[in-house]
Amino acid sequence: MNIDLSRRGFMKLAGAGVAATSLGAMGFGEAEAAEAAHVRAFKLASTTEVRNTCTYCSVACGILIYSKGDVAAGEKAEIVHIEGDADHPTNRGTLCPKGAALKDTVHAQTRLTEPRIRRPGADRFESISWDEALDKIARALKDDRDTNMILQNDAGVTVNRWTTTGFLAASATTNETAWLTYKTVRAMGIVGFDNQARV
């Protein structure tokens, strides 16, 4: 078992091989080759296939995402198709009415594309750069932490808890995001920490 070779990598190798050799190797003559040149290629033949998991419920159906471009190779990649993974033991290729429409969530008109800020009392968002937004957030965290960190309780016990800033974590982010979030939130001493499992 070679677990470092992803299916994506494997398919790419196999696909390149087929494209280079099939016409000749399968014995097409010139007439057939001319005919084949007029047949439109399958749309998915020019896409990159990537394994993923449906983002919705915890059945965790396997999905295959097809993109124009290969994001792993550093290319710009546009997702053009999503379908169930027939090799997945749980869903065996099937998807529900939500999973079958996943592509339109990826490309939803209400996807966020830039950081924005709503000033106190304002009736709209305005654009803000990542740098400015992140600096503002870091400053707000430090100021509140320095002001409200409880170092000891009334009995003089070291408690080092910070109750005035809270963090609500997600439920569809990866374990890796969860772990980095955990480290950051806990190292700062935040106790108002929760996630979607509560509801």
């Binding site: 939803a108 966020l112 950081p115 937004a133 509140d144 080092n160 800033t165 809270g166 974590a169 969860a178």
Partner: protein, 811 residues
């Protein structure tokens, strides 16, 4: 889930109660269809609504929302009265034979030790008699009147089929048919599986609902076997992972605990975590707690966590209350005591109860930061959307920063499904515009805060300055680096605990499993139960071998399943005292005379002799618990408690409101309604076309189910003069909504004693952002109170009133 989705095909009987898998988990429910088609399995559904799961059931019974404990205790009573008990399993694998203190008892709906002032129990009587040898006293004959079995028998004796009809509104004949079907699964060659979800958790006694079914499954001998189990279907795609990694106020990854301020130092903290076996020779695996805890502290603070400074114990926050859960945080926020709040992929103004209170609370923040791929209602809570979000924008002084994140399709990493499989996935697309991964955002925020502390100093900088952050790019840690960190690695050479000359992991190597974790600082690991997910053999979560020898449904080489790649928890209990499978056709693991082997990773030490070591290795008794001692706040057995808002008083104690130990904030208690003013029961639910508040951003799903509605019975429609498809107003003590009326026979009035109870169904998928029409959700109406043990809000049973609306809803 104790068992994976693919195991459901092995069952003989599925009971769906507290869930609606056909609509909420369609592709998992396929395995129920498989079991019905190829094994002749039967499906029972017990639900207030005749759901789509019910429509394919072999037998259906209605039940009043919030009365499940009565049904379940009556089922246990019927099993005992009719000798439908897997006796060898109950006697040896549960604590049925252990002796309980004389002081323990139950009266008028309450267990011994209740203090109405504190709204809490003194739980000291809820425990075993401990002998001079330090072990729990036992009577294997089950004759001692104080043994757990006899106490249980007495406890459930009051839950009769007649009481079920009176309290649950479930016709007696339907209840009796169902318990007869369930009773057949006490045979060793039959198994029942329980599939449940938020229909059981979202109650002020949700944990006790689940306990009730777990006890029934133990009495039938259905835990640890193929086709059996307690299967929490769960919600979002990584809700299991977020729970496993402990992103909660009081948790440390792998179900360890954040200390309380009563645990001032490491020694005190560890003193209550000795987990000495309560029966001779038992494993009591939590005795390894210090290894998991020290390895966690090393993963946080590396070389700054030493034996001398108690592994930097002071840097962990210490709690003064059980938890700063979201309900407590929004209570504090509403009182003006919270400055900054972060919502990472979370939409609290649609997700938390009493939306009016949630909106008022957010309006008192100084800064709200949202991180999401989509425009959420929470990020826009200050925007006026007419009746759908009627706020005074100018008066709201909260600053809101809305950060765009990648979606699942643009991110690498692993998710844990409800069957505990950690499955790796890869990014497929370029993120739109400036959207960034959550890991990038968290790293950026942390590094900037750290720099401020480096440059300016400040209060308690040490835990921030010393947090381990040895990523190749400190501003953009990769999923691979983080996964390896959670798995754990050797910080020094690690030797076998019994043979000190045998090297098990050289310094710097990834650990193979949590058996290699140490409490001397020589190992680190962020989440011990994930150990084995990324070893020296690579990314085990990315494995893709879907072979399944003998079609057991275990798929051992597909991805990684925590713990230890084990697919069915408690699988030792699938075999008898001699180590032979109870059912040869359902073999999982067996004792071959020297060790355990079979289709799954044994849930016991591979060389633990059968008969000596009990199958429930995490418990100090080595047995499962029909009686939970003091581990739950509201009782060692489930006892019937009404919802906080109920159409009828508690039959055992008419003065008792809701769960007598659930936390209730003063302002919320004033907002509970009574059945005089609010005569109808409401319950929330999901539709198969939508996923929470996400798919309304998707035009296809928005077109499939475009508009908010509430569901009522023809009888209620007639009583109130509501036309099919007409507009109605529904209101509770906390809020009012308008909706289209779906008049449907899927809901029927329930006769509970002399009271006819109408139930109103309220789906939860609408808001004021996205592609669907604007609408409301049940949280505009629901009470701000949670389960007594875990504070999950009571969404599934509350009181409302309804009338035809005089004007059409604005859209």
């Amino acid at each position: 889930m104790t068992n994976p989705w693919t195991d459901i095909k092995n069952t003989d009987l599925v009971i769906v109660m507290g869930g609606n898998a056909a609509e909420a988990h369609p592709c998992g429910f396929k395995w129920v269809t498989e079991a019905k088609a190829h094994r002749g399995a039967k499906l029972i559904v017990v639900d207030p609504r005749f759901t789509r799961t019910a429509s394919v059931a072999d037998y259906y019974a209605p039940i009043r929302p919030g009365s499940d404990i009565v049904f379940l205790m009556a089922a246990i009573n019927w099993m005992i009265q009719n000798d439908k008990v897997q006796w060898e399993y109950v006697r040896n694998y549960t604590n049925a034979a252990l002796i309980v203190k004389d002081e323990f008892g139950w009266q008028d709906g309450l267990f011994s030790g209740y203090d109405p002032e504190k709204r809490d129990y003194d739980k000291s009587s809820w425990d075993y008699v401990i002998g001079d040898d330090g072990f729990a006293a036992i009577d294997m004959t089950l004759e001692n009147p104080r043994c757990v079995w006899n106490l249980l028998k007495d406890h459930v004796s009051r839950y009769t089929p007649e009481l079920v009809e009176q309290v649950c509104g479930t016709p007696k004949d339907r209840f009796l048919k169902i318990v007869q079907m369930i009773g057949e699964c006490s045979a060793t060659d039959k198994a029942m599986t329980s599939m449940y979800a938020l229909g059981w958790t979202q109650h002020s006694k949700g944990a006790q609902n689940i306990r009730g079914m777990a006890m029934l499954q133990l009495i039938l001998g259905n835990i640890g076997v193929r086709g059996g189990g307690m299967n929490a279907l769960r919600g979002h795609s990584n809700i299991q992972g977020l729970t496993d990694i402990g992103l909660m106020s009081n948790l440390i990854p792998g179900y360890l605990n954040i200390p309380t301020e009563k645990e001032a130092d490491w020694t005190t903290y560890m003193s209550s975590r000795q987990f000495k076996p309560l029966r001779p020779g038992q494993t009591s695996y939590w005795q390894n707690y210090p290894k998991f805890m020290v390895s966690f502290m090393k993963s946080m603070w590396g070389s700054a966590a030493t034996a001398e400074n108690d592994w930097a114990y002071d840097w962990l926050p210490k709690l003064d209350v059980p938890a700063y859960d979201v309900l407590r945080m929004f209570e504090l926020m509403n009182a003006g005591q919270i400055t900054n709040y972060f919502c990472q992929g979370f939409n609290p103004i649609l997700a938390f109860p009493n939306r009016g209170k949630v909106t008022a609370a957010l309006s008192k923040l100084k800064l709200l930061v949202t991180m999401d791929p989509l425009e959420t209602e929470t990020a826009h809570f200050w925007e006026n959307h007419g009746e759908y979000n009627d706020v005074d924008t100018a008066s709201i002084q909260t600053e809101v920063i809305e950060l765009p994140t990648t979606s699942f399709a643009e991110d690498d990493g692993s998710l844990v499904n409800s069957g505990r499989w950690l499955q790796w996935h890869w990014a497929a697309g370029t993120p739109p515009g400036q959207a960034q991964r959550d890991t990038w955002i968290m790293a950026q925020i942390f590094q900037r805060v750290r720099k401020l502390y480096q440059d300016e100093g400040g209060v308690l900088p040490e835990p921030i300055l010393n947090l381990t952050w040895d990523y190749a790019d400190p501003l953009d840690p990769t999923a691979e680096e983080l996964a390896k960190e959670m798995n754990g690695r050797a910080l020094a050479d690690v030797y076998d605990l019994t043979d000190k000359t045998k090297l098990v992991a050289a310094q710097g190597k990834q650990l193979a499993n949590f058996g290699q974790y140490r409490d001397d600082g020589s190992t680190m690991g962020g989440c011990w139960i994930f150990a084995g997910c990324w070893t020296e053999d690579g990314n085990i979560m990315a494995r893709r071998d879907n072979s399944d020898p003998d079609d057991t449904g275990t798929y051992l080489n597909w991805s990684f399943s925590w713990p230890m790649n084990r697919r069915i928890l408690y699988n030792r209990a699938s075999a008898d005292l001699e180590g032979k499978a109870w059912d040869p056709a359902r073999k999982l693991i067996e004792w071959n005379g020297e060790k355990w082997e079979g289709y799954d990773v044994p849930d016991i030490s591979p060389t633990a002799k059968p008969g000596d070591v009990g199958p429930f290795i995490m418990n100090q008794e080595g047995m499962s618990r029909l009686f939970t001692r003091g581990l739950m706040r509201d009782g060692p057995f489930p006892t019937h408690m009404e919802p906080f808002e109920s159409p009828i008083p508690n039959v055992f104690n008419e003065k008792m409101v809701g769960n007598p130990v659930a936390r209730v904030f003063v302002s919320d208690a004033e907002q509970f309604g009574t059945s005089d003013e609010f005569p109808f029961v409401a319950t929330s639910y999901r539709l198969t076309e939508h996923f929470h508040y996400w798919t309304k951003h998707n035009r296809i799903n928005a077109a499939l189910q475009p508009e908010f509605f509430v569901e009522i019975s023809p009888e209620l429609a007639a009583e109130k003069g509501i036309a099919k498809g007409g507009t109605v107003r529904v209101w509770s003590k906390r809020g009012s909504i308008t909706a289209k009326a779906l008049v449907s026979r899927r809901l029927r009035p329930l006769q509970c004693g002399d009271k006819l109870v109408h139930v109103i169904g309220i789906p939860l998928h609408w808001g004021f952002m996205g592609a669907a029409r604007k609408g409301f959700g049940p949280n505009s109406l629901t009470p701000f109170v949670g389960d007594a043990n875990i504070e999950t809000p009571e969404y599934k049973a509350f009181l409302v009133n309804i009338e035809p609306a005089t004007t059409e809803a604005v859209s």
